[in-house]
Amino acid sequence: MLDTKAPDSTNPTPAAMRLLPAPAADPMRPVPWTVRRVLRETADTFTLALAPAEADTRLAFAAGQFNMLYAFGLGEVPISASGDPARSDELLHTIRAVGAVTRGLRRARPGDRIGVRGPFGTAWPVEEARGHDVVIVAGGIGLAPLRPAIHHLLAHRGQYGRVSLLYGARSAGDILYRRELSRWRGRFDLSVEVTVDRAGSEWQGRVGLVTRLVDRAVLEPASTVALLCGPEVMMRCAAQALEERGVPQASVYVSLERNMKCAVGLCGHCQLGPALVCRDGPVFRYDRLRRVLAVREV
């Protein structure tokens, strides 16, 4: 029997934060990792698979946390871990090449070294969601920070109610993790729906906003935890669609992206109203930040 009471946890409390993985040593010192593989995902997006450069290096992370990746000589970027949190011997990060550092990372080849600091920040509330239905709404590259949560949910599948993945991408060519999506679609205990914003007549799948998938999802509103990641407008629309379905806003979690620099809450570059995204996020309970997200000046 599932517990139908919605979780009342907020963002991880300070006590819970202490339970999350954190950098093993100096959080400001990058640790060298070796590029094992570079996987092309779409025209502008790739996944870096990293292996420890030194025998005793390990990096445990919780689903939703991020690392600072340092392309030597170019700079650092915050990237959410996108692999299986149960594996500490290989780190995956899915990256869109849009700036000097990320383009530099795309040029990396097996055997190259990059620096890694982390893990940082808060995590998806996968423990709090036990016993509940889980709806995952991802848009574009927002599927990457959610993938570790999906790995966790599937690894502990019996502890959750219905699990639904609703994924929206710009076009068919922009869909991430195609093989994995196909595999997940083949499972009887996971509902996977994909839609694209634009398509030619050759595309046989859905066309339309990802929020329309929310309208159609089978869920028990009072017992649903929703995990959202994607463009902020998409997350706001999805949160509204969930609210219209009766899902409490306190059960909706979003992952935000801001200009994270130090990653330890010192520099203030990623301030969002009362929060520092690197320290208090990137995963937030939506009702805590929804007003701030609607303020243009923030």
């Binding site: 849009v98 710009r170 030619g200 046989q204 859905r206 066309v207 994607g230 463009p231």
Partner: protein, 155 residues
């Protein structure tokens, strides 16, 4: 299918929720079963819009023809969705193509018949107008957000 079957289907559909029995009976009287093979068009741009569809099975792509690119899909509608509002508004012409991307089974509701009924029965007209206006607003909002091209980097 008997009209009692239509009544059950329409009566349970959220789109027609809260219609009174007489209004529902009017709709039932204008309904018929239709079926389309994959690739078949439910309607084409410029044709007379003389009905709307309540999809019971399958998927339909709403497309617009573009020079050189063939059909561009604007959206898809699936089982449970209602397709088509041009029957309700002058000039009663379809503005897009609707192509079955799979086997489609649907109820087609005769728009010409319903327009006549709405002219005689203002509450029915208001009930249908309100429902189709909601569909049109949802479509407009979705289009506005799609125009933002949200998944472009930096959004």
């Amino acid at each position: 299918m008997s009209t009692s079957g239509f009544e059950q289907i329409l009566g349970r559909h959220p789109f027609f929720a809260d219609l009174d029995p007489a209004q529902l009976a009017t709709l039932v009287g204008c309904a018929r079963n239709v079926r389309f093979e994959p690739g078949e068009y439910l309607f084409r741009e410029g044709e007379a819009a003389d009905c709307f569809y309540m999809l019971r099975f399958g998927r339909v792509a709403v497309e617009i023809a573009t020079p050189g690119a063939g059909g561009v899909t604007l959206e898809t509608v699936d089982a449970g969705d209602v397709l088509g509002w041009s029957w309700l508004f002058p000039p009663y012409k379809w503005h897009f193509d609707a192509r079955a991307t799979s086997l489609v089974r649907a109820l087609a509701l005769d728009g010409v018949c319903l327009r006549g009924k709405c002219g005689q029965d203002a509450p029915l007209g208001l009930a249908l107008m309100t429902r189709f206006a909601r569909v049109a607003i949802q479509r407009l909002e979705a289009t506005q957000i799609q125009l933002l091209d949200l998944y472009t980097a930096g959004r």
